[in-house]
C-alpha cells in the first residue's frame, strides 16, 4: 500500500452517473445551438452532438461507454413508448375505422415498396425483407418529442401519433416473425424457429398486461392524487423496462403494450391522466445523443445509395397509403399530405433490432446495419425537421405571443 492510495486510479474511470450528466449538458448545448442557428428541432442537435462525440467524430464515446449509457436510452424509450401506447385509443379506431385502415395500408405499402426496391437493386431477399419490416416503423420518440416541444395538438398530431403506434406494432410483429425465417436460414432447430417469436410476442404482451394490472390496482388504492400516480407509473415503467431486458423480451413491445392496456383496460378511469413531461425530456436528450454516437458515418459510404433507395421507397409507400385513405376520415384538406411528412422519421428502434440481430448472427447483422443504419442516420437529421414542418403547417403548434 503506497502513501497515495487514497487518490483515484489513473487514468480515471468515468462513473455512469457523471457520463449521464455530461451527455445531458453536451446534448442541451448542441440542441440549443442548432435550434438558435438553424431553427430546426433540438433533437437534430442532440443527434449531431452524439455523432460529434462518438465514433464518427472525436471518438470520446467508445462502445463501452455507449453500452453503459444505454440504460438511460432504455428509460427514455420506456417512458415515450408508454405514453405513445396511451395515445392509441381503440375506441377511436372503432369509431373511425378509416384511421386504422390507413395505418395498416401505409405499413403494408411501405413494406412492399422497400422490399421491392431493395431486391431490384440486388439486395438478397432475406436482408431486404428484414430491412423492409424495420422500415415500417416511424420513430415514436421523434414524433412524440417534436409534438411535445411544439406543444402541438390537433388532428394531424393525434392521427400521426396513432399511425405511429400502429406501424410500430406492425413493424415489431413483422420483425419478430421474420426472426423465424432468419433462424431457419441459419439452420437453427425447429424449437428456436417456432418458440423464439412466440416467446417474444406472448412474453412481451404478458409482461405489459401484468404491469397494467399492477398499475391499476395501485392507482385505485392511492385514490386520485396526481403526484402518487405519477410516481407509481414512472416506477412501473422502470420495472417493466428492466424486466424486459432481464427476460430478453422486447422493450418496445412491452412498453407499448403497457401503455395501450393501461389506457384501454382502465374502464373505471382509475389512473389519472398526466404527462411524463420534464422528467422524460431529460432522458430523451441522452437517448438522442447516444443514438447519434452509435451511428457510423463510414457506413454511410458503404450503404448510402441503398439507404436512399430505402428512404424513397418507404416515403412513397407511406404516402400512397395515407393519401389513399385519409380523405375518408373527414378531416380537413391538406391533412393527408402533412401526415405523410409526419411519418418520415425512422425508428431508432431499428438500431436495437439491428443490435439484437447482430448479437444472434453477427455476420448477418453487419450487412443489415450498413443499409438500415445509414437510412436511420439520414432520417434522424431530416425526420424531426419534417415533423416540425408538418405540425406547424397544420397550425397545431402553440403560438408564442399572448
Amino acid at each position: 500500500m503506497t502513501q497515495l492510495s487514497f487518490l483515484p486510479e489513473f487514468p480515471p474511470v468515468a462513473s455512469p452517473l457523471a457520463l449521464f450528466g455530461l451527455l445531458l449538458i453536451a446534448g442541451m448545448v448542441g440542441g440549443e445551438l442548432v435550434n438558435r442557428v438553424l431553427r430546426v428541432p433540438r433533437i437534430v442537435g442532440y443527434v449531431l452532438t452524439g455523432m460529434f462525440l462518438g465514433a464518427s467524430g472525436l471518438g470520446l464515446l467508445d462502445a463501452q461507454q455507449i453500452k453503459e449509457a444505454w440504460i438511460f436510452v432504455d428509460i427514455a424509450l420506456g417512458m415515450v413508448l408508454f405514453e405513445l401506447g396511451r395515445r392509441l385509443d381503440f375506441t377511436w379506431l372503432r369509431r373511425d375505422p378509416w384511421l386504422a385502415a390507413t395505418g395498416v395500408l401505409e405499413s403494408g405499402l411501405s413494406f412492399a415498396l422497400v422490399f421491392g426496391a431493395l431486391t431490384y437493386f440486388d439486395v438478397p431477399p432475406i436482408y431486404a425483407v428484414v430491412a423492409a419490416s424495420i422500415a415500417i416503423a416511424t420513430s415514436p420518440v421523434v414524433v412524440m418529442v417534436v409534438a411535445q416541444e411544439l406543444k402541438a395538438e390537433g388532428q394531424v398530431t393525434e392521427r400521426a401519433l396513432n399511425l405511429v403506434a400502429i406501424n410500430s406494432v406492425i413493424a415489431f410483429v413483422a420483425a419478430t416473425m421474420l426472426l423465424a425465417w432468419l433462424h431457419h436460414e441459419y439452420q437453427a432447430g425447429w424449437q428456436t424457429i417456432v418458440l423464439h417469436p412466440v416467446y417474444l410476442l406472448t412474453g412481451s404482451l404478458g409482461l405489459g398486461f401484468l404491469a397494467t394490472g399492477m398499475l391499476l390496482l395501485l392507482s385505485r388504492w392511492l385514490g386520485k392524487t396526481g403526484r402518487g400516480h405519477f410516481v407509481v407509473t414512472l416506477a412501473l415503467v422502470l420495472v417493466t423496462v428492466g424486466l424486459a431486458r432481464t427476460l430478453e423480451l422486447s422493450v418496445v413491445l412491452v412498453l407499448l403494450a403497457f401503455g395501450v392496456m393501461s389506457k384501454n383496460l382502465d374502464e373505471r378511469h382509475d389512473l389519472m391522466p398526466f404527462e411524463i413531461g420534464r422528467v422524460g425530456e431529460i432522458f430523451v436528450v441522452v437517448l438522442f445523443v447516444v443514438s447519434g454516437a452509435s451511428l457510423h458515418l463510414d457506413g454511410l459510404i458503404e450503404g448510402g445509395t441503398l439507404a436512399l433507395v430505402l428512404i424513397l421507397a418507404r416515403f412513397a409507400g407511406k404516402s400512397a397509403g395515407v393519401l389513399a385513405l385519409t380523405y375518408f376520415s373527414g378531416v380537413r384538406r391538406g391533412t393527408a399530405g402533412l401526415l405523410c411528412l409526419a411519418l418520415t422519421p425512422m425508428s431508432g428502434m431499428a438500431i436495437s433490432i439491428v443490435q439484437n440481430t447482430t448479437q444472434l448472427y453477427p455476420e448477418f447483422g453487419a450487412k443489415l446495419a450498413a443499409i438500415v443504419l445509414s437510412a436511420v442516420l439520414i432520417l434522424e437529421l431530416i425526420g424531426p425537421v419534417a415533423v416540425q414542418f408538418a405540425l406547424k403547417r397544420a397550425g397545431e403548434a402553440k403560438d408564442e405571443a399572448v
Binding site: 395538438e153 389519472m272 378531416v331
Partner: protein, 385 residues
Amino acid sequence: MSGEEMIFKPSPGLSVGVELELQILNSRDFDLARDAADLLGLLEKTAHPGAVKPEITESMVELNSSIHGNHETLLTELKAIRDAITQAARRLNVRIAGGGSHAFHQWADRRIYPTERFNHLLSLYGYLAKQFTIFGQHVHLGCPDGDAAVYLTHILSRYVPHFIALSASSPFQQGEDTAYQSSRLNTVSAFPLSGQIPFVQSWAEFLEYFEKMRGFGIVEGMKDFYWDIRPKPEFGTVEIRVFDTPLTVERAALIAAYAQSLARHILVDRPFAPSRDVYLLYNHNRFQACRYGLEGTIVDAYTQRQAGLKEDILRTLAVIAPHAASLGNGEALARLRAEVVGGRTDANWLRGVYRERGSLNDVARMQGDLWMGLRTHVDGKVPQT
C-alpha cells in the same frame, strides 16, 4: 354604416331561438382541445338543422337553433344538432361538453380562432380575449318593435338573477373551486363594454344613445356591447346573454322556455314600469345569484324587500303559468319547477361529481358524456361510472 342594421326588424309573436357556446375536449386528459376547424369542416359535410359556427378560441364552437314557437320543437331541433355534433366529434376523437367554464384548462394555452374579427379582439383586449374561453347560452326573444324591445330589456333586467341561478354551471376555473355557482360572469365583467343598457325609454332614444357612442368611435355595432341583455335589431329580438351553457340541451331548452314564457307575461301584461331601482340593485342581486345560485337572496326593486332567489323563481313560475300554457310550454315549466324545488342545478351536479371522483379530469370527462347523451342525468344524482 349603422343605418340598415339598426332598423328594428319586427319578429312574429314571441318566438324563441337559442345559441349555445360549447367546449371541445380532447379524449386524453379531457382538457380543452383545439379542433374547432376540423369539427366545423366535418359538420359542413353532414346535413343537420340549425348552424354551428366558430367562436373566439379554437376550443369552442357555437350552436345556433332556428326560430321556434315553443319548447317542444326547440328541444327536438337542439337534440338533432347535438347528435350531429356528437357524431362528428366522435369521428375526430374529441368530446363536446356543456357547462359555463372548463374546470381546469389554463387560459394561456388557448389559441384564437383565426378570423379577422377574433384577431382584432385579441389585439384589443390582450389576455382577456383568451380568458374569454367561457361558455354561455344566449336566448333570443322575438319582439314586435323596437319600443317593445327596450321595455322588455328593462323588465327582464329584474329577472337576471333568475337566469343566472337556473343556468349556473361554472363552479370551477383554472383547476380550482371558485365557491361561485357561476364564475363565468366574473370574466365577462372585465370587459369595458359589459354591463347593462342605459335607462332609455324608447327605440328612438336608444338610437340616439347608440349614435353618440358610435360617433365617439367606441362601438361600430350592437355586437360591441357585451351587455347582459341587449336588443338585437337585425334579428328583431332581445338577447339574454347571462346564462351559463347548461350541461344538457334538455336543460337549455327548459331555460329558454322559462325566458320565453316570462317575456310573454311581460309584453302582454306589462306588469311593471321600468325602474331605475332595478339598476341600483342590479350588481348586488347579480352577485348573489352568481355566488349562491338558488340559495341567494335578492332585493326586489318593486317591492323593496328581500327575497330568497328560489322562492322568487317559484313565485314567478306561478305568475307566468298561464302564458306558459298558451305557448305550449306548460309541461316544460312544470319540469323546471321540480328541478328548482329539488335544488338541482348543474353547478351542484359538477361539484357532486368532483366529490365522488376526486379528479377534475373526471368532471370534464363526465360533463362531456352527459352533453353528448352518453350518460343520463338521473335526478341530478351523480351516476356511477
